[in-house]
């Protein structure tokens, strides 16, 4: 007659299975996939201890084998994520940096041939113009604050006029700045 199975290792097996399934779910979420290594290894350890307990105590192994399989899958996915991510970061990082530098150089060259002007100098001009616009805006705002005593309608009209004027000045400045040909 076949010997009756016991509950040896069942508690740890269930714990290993639950932690293992959670680790698989974690491993498949790219943002936090690498974290799955921790529960994956814990689940693997729990399952191995449960397996040895079940072996010694003639326990049922269904849950424990399930837990082992799931925790191995989770740990593998987590490990693969870490290794591949590290590879992408080291190789891809250099590649991306080179690409950015190349694009920046191409842009500078094109700018110079198109506008006959150094890109750095053009940037300084733009900055200067923006400072001027900033000054004008500040003056306008101060004027508006002085008119704070006026009635609501008058205020609205003045604000509208001032905003329109400021916008016109801004557009003109922008046109002057970009029209360097």
């Amino acid at each position: 007659m076949e010997e009756q199975k016991t509950s040896a290792g069942q508690g740890l097996g269930v714990a290993g299975l639950v932690v293992g399934i959670l680790a698989v779910i974690l491993a498949l979420i790219p943002c936090i996939g690498w974290i799955a290594i921790i529960p994956g290894v814990i689940a693997l350890a729990l399952s191995l201890v449960a397996f040895s307990q079940a072996n010694k105590g003639n326990g049922s192994k269904g849950v424990i084998i399930g837990a082992l399989v799931v925790s191995i899958i989770a740990t593998s996915i987590g490990l693969v994520q870490i290794v591949l991510f590290a590879a992408v970061t080291s190789e891809g990082g250099g590649h991306i940096r080179n690409k950015i530098e190349k694009v920046a150089k191409e842009f500078e060259d094109e700018f110079e041939s198109e506008y006959g002007k150094d890109f750095e100098k053009a940037l300084e001009d733009v900055e200067e113009s923006l400072n001027e616009i900033d000054e004008d805006m500040r003056e306008t705002m101060e004027k508006l604050e002085e008119d704070i005593e006026l009635s609501d309608d008058e205020k609205a009209a003045k604000i509208g006029k001032a905003a329109g004027k400021a916008m016109k000045e801004f557009m003109k400045e922008m046109e002057d700045t970009t029209d360097t040909k």
């Binding site: 009756q4 269930v14 639950v18 943002c31 690498w34 049922s60 991510f85 970061t89 990082g93």
Partner: protein, 138 residues
């Protein structure tokens, strides 16, 4: 000697633990809000590569779903709704499976086989974009 345990005694415990974990996920989603943006987990991909991954915005998406804002949830992460419903369906499945198991409505082996198959298929469907993303590394 103790009586036979096997899959069947463990099944209840597993169902209850998973139901508890899913409820905790929902509580987490309700506790943190996209307005305050106080989520403790940051995306490693975005931090290092500067590019978002398919799971970016998932927590925000879950929080919006918990608050009933499905459109906003879709904006945060288009996969968020699927993944949220995976957990929601799982919550009901755990309770239902435990009920069916306790009442012995169908044989336990059948129940577990159906449960595992349905859960795996549902998981593959709802997490498909995240799973496929892993293969972009190769």
């Amino acid at each position: 000697m103790k009586k036979i345990p096997g899959w069947f005694d463990a099944y209840h415990r597993i169902n209850m633990i998973f139901a508890g974990v899913i409820v905790m996920i929902f509580i987490y989603s309700g506790f943190f809000s996209p307005q305050q943006d106080n989520y403790p987990v940051k995306c490693v991909h975005k931090e290092i590569l500067g590019k978002p991954c398919p799971s970016c915005g998932l927590s925000h998406s879950f929080s919006e779903i918990v608050r009933g804002n499905f459109e906003k949830a879709r904006e945060w992460n288009p996969n968020g709704v699927f993944i949220f419903f995976f957990f929601l369906i799982q919550l009901f499945l755990r309770i239902l499976a435990s009920f069916v198991y306790a009442r012995k409505l169908i044989p336990a082996r059948w129940l577990i086989a159906i449960d595992i198959s349905v859960s795996i298929l549902l998981f593959l469907y709802c997490f498909r974009y995240l799973i496929l993303f892993l293969f972009t590394f190769f």
